[in-house]
Structure formats: C-alpha cells, structure tokens
Symmetry: C2
Subunit: 335 residues, 2 copies
C-alpha cells in the first residue's frame, strides 16, 4: 500500500494537484495552474486530426503537472494513485462518465468510478469519479466536496440540512439522514459576471475582488439584499443603473449593490425552509459576502458557518473518503 | 400654421423619421436607418477635438435624414417642426434634459420641453421632450408612447390600469385616474440577450427572431413560464442547461424555454395586482410571445390586448398629442 495519494481538482478554468500523506491526510506539496479542463479540451480539439486520443492527451497534460510536483516534493510520484472528481468526468473532460443518481449517500458508496491503470503515458493509476444528477439538475465535484465536508464537520445523522456551496454556479444540497436527496443550482456568480461585463449595467459598476471592502460598500451590499426582497430580480437589476444615474452610489459601491441583489435572490427563499439546518460552506473568496448576507436575511440562528479553510480542503477530503470506502469494499470482496 | 409635422423616434440603435399630415395624422413618408443615438454619439466623441458642438453635430445628422425623406416626399421639408422624444434627450443624445417627475399626466401637460429654433444648420424648429423618473426608476420615450396609447384606446378615467410595454427594457406603467403614478423597468430582453450570448447557456440555445414558431417550441415556451412560477429565476436559468444536457429540448426549443422563464418572471407578479386593468401594448416583434404568456398565466380576463399596429404608431401619436397641447397653451397665453 502506497503511503501517498494524489488528489486532483481539475476545474473548467483551473487545475490543482495535491500530494497527500494517506495516514494523516497531511498536504506534502501542491501544484496549481491555469490549465483548466476547458482550455485543455480546446487544445486537444485543435490537434484531433493528428489522431491522438482524448484520454491520452489529458494524461500527457497531467504527467507534466505531476513531474512539476515531483520536483517540489523531492521524490518520484510514480505508482501513486490519482483521485479525480469534478469536470474531469464531463463531456469536455478526460473521459465522460454518466452521472450517479439521487438518492446519493454521503459515505461515498454511491459514486460511480472509472479506473484507469497506469500505462506508458502515465505511470499512475487513476480513479475518476462521476457527478450526480437529479431529474432537473446536475453537478460534478460538489458531491465530492459534500462527502468531505460531512466527514470533517461530523454531521449528526438526525439533522435535515441544506449545505450551501457558493460560486459561479452556487449549489444548495438537501441532506436527509445522511443522504443527498435533492439539490438546486443557482447561476448567481455567472449572472453577476455577464451583467457586469456585457449588459447596460457595465457602465454602472466596477467589479473586482481582492480589495478591502469599505463601510459604504457593505452598506450598498445590504441595500441590494433588501432590494431583492422588495422587488422581482429583473426589475431590481435595473435599479443598479438608476442608482448610478441618480449619483446615489459610485461604481464600486454599485458592484456591491448588484452582488447583494443576486446573493439575496439566491438565499432569500431559505427563510421558508424552517425545518432545515443551514450549513454555509464558503471558500475564502466569497466568505465575507455570504456571511453578511446570512446576517442581513436574519438566517444566522439557523445557520452553521463552516470555516473557509475547511471548505478549501473539502474536495481532497471527499476524494480520500471515497477512495478509502472503495478500498474497504475491495478488501472485503478479496476475503 | 404648417399642415405637416416631422415625428422623430431616435433610439439607441435605430432611427425613424415620419412625415405626418397634422390634420388627420396620416403618414406621408418615412425614413428609417440604423444610425442610432449610441453610434452617433460615439462618432461625435471621436471628432470632439475638431471643436464641433454636440448639438450641431446631431443636427447635421438629422439634416441628412430629412434631405433623404424630402426626396421621398417630393417637396421641401424646411420649416416643418420636428418632434423628438426618447434617447435624444439622454446624456448620449442631442442634448440632455432633466427627467420630468411623477405624478405625470397623460394629456401631455407634464412633459418638459426644450425648443430649438431653426438655424443655418437645420431649417426646422425642434421640440425635444424629456423622459420621466420616479424615486427609483427612469424612462425616456415610453411616457410619450403612453400618452399616444391612452388617446388611441380612449381609456376611461375611472380605471386603474397597468400598461405593459415589452422590450429590451420592459416597462410596467401604473395609471390612476389618467395620471402615471409609478412605473417599473424589467430587464427581460437584455437578460435574454446576455445569457444567450455570453453565459454557459450560449451552448444550449439558438436565439433568433423572425422564423416560424413550431408547436414544440410553443410547448417549450409554456414550460419556461411554468418553471418561472415554480422556482427562483437564478435556479430556473440553470435548467436551460440541464434540459439540453438531458436531450429534452433542441437549441431552438431551449431558446423559447429561456424566453418563457424570463417573460414569465416579468409577468407573474401581475397576478397579485387584482385591482388593476392590465393593458398589453406590444409591437409586432414580441406580440405573439407576450400574448401567449398572458394566456398561460391565466391573465387573459384582466387584460386588454392592444393591436401591434396601434403600438407601433404610439410614439408619433404621443408626440403630436404633446405638441397640440402645448400649441393650445401658447394660443391661450397669446390671447
């Protein structure tokens, strides 16, 4: 048994590979790049005539990243199993595999898995994990984060909970007795981006994360949340423009106001879900915004806020949980 | 008194100039072009260093169009008064003039007017009409269409009515006793455009007006309207993608489904406005969609549907109504 695992989070626009000590799940070394699934697929498409198979091309790209990580680690990473979830199993990923169905257990037993044995292109076994679908929604990756989160926060099996995973496509995951029974995708982050960059509102906002948020910008954010309760979103959006026309807000404040309208629209119906424990799982970049939104909507009492460091490690924790479950299963079968 | 008027509808992306017989409001000739306010302003901006005044530049452009219309009409259009409403009075228009305030009477008496006397650049007087603002919304042009519509459909003064003017930025205009008391802008058409062209949904829809709508496409449109009642819009939007992933709809059907979600979201709260007469005022291009949406939402009983030809003539009818009111007023003052 190898003492290490490689956890790979290959998103549409980013790539992260982590070398993990299997025993205590300690991070040994990490390799991050902008070579996301989308770009990798596009490059393969351009070279398709050369006859190279998609999976071989993706393996070659992965090998380059493993070689870079090997230098950081100071030893060879050959034969270490790679665990992959998320967009890697999509139609533009390494290999498309079908979605698992609901209900979906949080112990990892319902994940569909595609094994790839080590070969001359890549001297590592790969375990590629499926996403999950309902009758009306899909996800790839968040189910693995959920499995990691459920283990890390030690959720009681008696609690009915909604895990909120904010992002470009926010997910609300409905858990009953340790089983995922439903989920909904909200296009919150993407609608923000297209409205801020391609609509008439582009002249009314200056978007950009990473800067300190001032008191007046927080005030604008809270105003946006209240606006989302007061009026329908297609109408609320236009008030971003009028606030600028009336010189009520500068463009940075207005971006926060727009963000408040959208995050408010996403979260406000959670007020109706009074029998559910809300669990906010926000990475570093959106943590402050969603925490403020929960407070403004007076949802704090029914919400557990998971630390963003825990959320940032959820994908690899979930991958390892799935791996260990499968390992246990294989050992049982071998007995 | 000149027996003619020139009615100008100068929008952000289009230009329309109509020569009207003042007595019976008959259309004599018409000049249409793509030289909208936006493009005209941009060209002026590029030439700003040459020292030409904005208003002079816009007048020159207008003169070119009048000359073209003059050839069609077969006589000189010198000295015929030009009536202008809409984006011509905006910050990117011929000359910015402030918005009139609410309440705003439908007889034309509350419009703010800026006169420009004929000069060597343009041998026509111009009457430039303001838009209207509330404490949280703005419009330029729809108030003039409303004045025209109210006259053409002979609205009883006793009725409280909501005029619905669909478009890129749909307007819902609240009328009490012949006075506009409130209005709301819905970014329905623009959200459709940015989502269909710039979001992840662009791979799930084929948008494009002007083709015959099939029975299955109408079915998809109705499904979208029902979806807008069932779920929050940021969530409903993502089902456009899943319907394509699940091969439930082709891309043209899916564009109609997206349209249904958005038009449904715009109109569904009108179900709550039970004390108001709804008046749907749709031009040719959106008429069928909004009529179907009104039926699907079971609003037909409380809705008057204005013929699209009437709506298409509303702007010039409103301009003439305002002109005649002002003329009457001037005559009174002169007495």
């Amino acid at each position: 048994m190898n003492k290490y695992l490689l956890c790979c989070d290959w998103g549409t626009t980013s790539f992260r590979l982590q070398l993990i000590n299997r025993g205590d799940q300690r991070l040994i070394a990490e390799q991050i790049s902008q070579n996301g699934i989308g770009q990798t697929y596009d490059i393969w498409k351009q070279r398709e005539q050369s006859g190279i198979e998609r999976i071989t091309f993706f393996k070659e790209q992965l090998k380059n990243q493993i070689d870079a990580l090997s230098i950081k680690a100071g030893f060879s990473l050959d034969n270490i199993t790679i665990l992959m979830s998320g967009m890697a199993s999509s139609s533009i990923g390494m290999q498309e595999i079908p979605y698992a169905q609901l209900p979906f257990a949080l112990d990892g037993s319902d994940v569909l898995i595609k094994y790839h044995e080590a070969d001359e292109t890549l001297p590592n076994d790969i375990m590629l994990f499926s996403g999950v679908r309902s009758s009306r929604d899909v996800m790839r990756g968040e189910e693995t984060q959920l499995i990691g989160l459920a283990e890390m926060i030690d959720l009681s099996m008696d609690i009915d909970a909604i895990f909120i995973l904010p992002g470009t496509h926010s997910k609300h995951l409905y858990i009953e007795k340790g089983v995922l029974v439903d989920f909904k995708t909200y296009m919150t982050g993407e609608v923000f981006n297209v409205m801020a960059n391609y609509s008439i509102l582009k002249d009314s906002v200056t978007a950009g994360l990473g800067t300190q948020i001032t008191a007046s910008e927080w005030k604008a954010f809270e105003d946006g949340i209240r606006e989302s309760e007061y009026s329908e979103i297609l109408n609320a959006l236009f008030t971003v423009r009028t606030r600028q026309l009336f010189d009520l807000l500068d463009k940075k404040q207005n971006a926060m106001y727009l963000s408040g309208i959208l995050i408010g629209s996403e979260l406000r119906q959670l007020n109706r879900e009074t029998n559910w424990q809300l669990i906010l799982c926000c990475g570093q970049n959106l943590h402050a915004l969603y925490q403020k939104a929960i407070e403004t909507l007076q949802l704090s009492k029914s919400t557990i806020i998971v630390p963003s460091e825990t959320v940032d490690n959820a994908a690899s924790a979930g991958q390892i949980r799935i791996f260990e479950f499968q390992n246990l299963l294989l050992n049982k079968i071998n007995l």
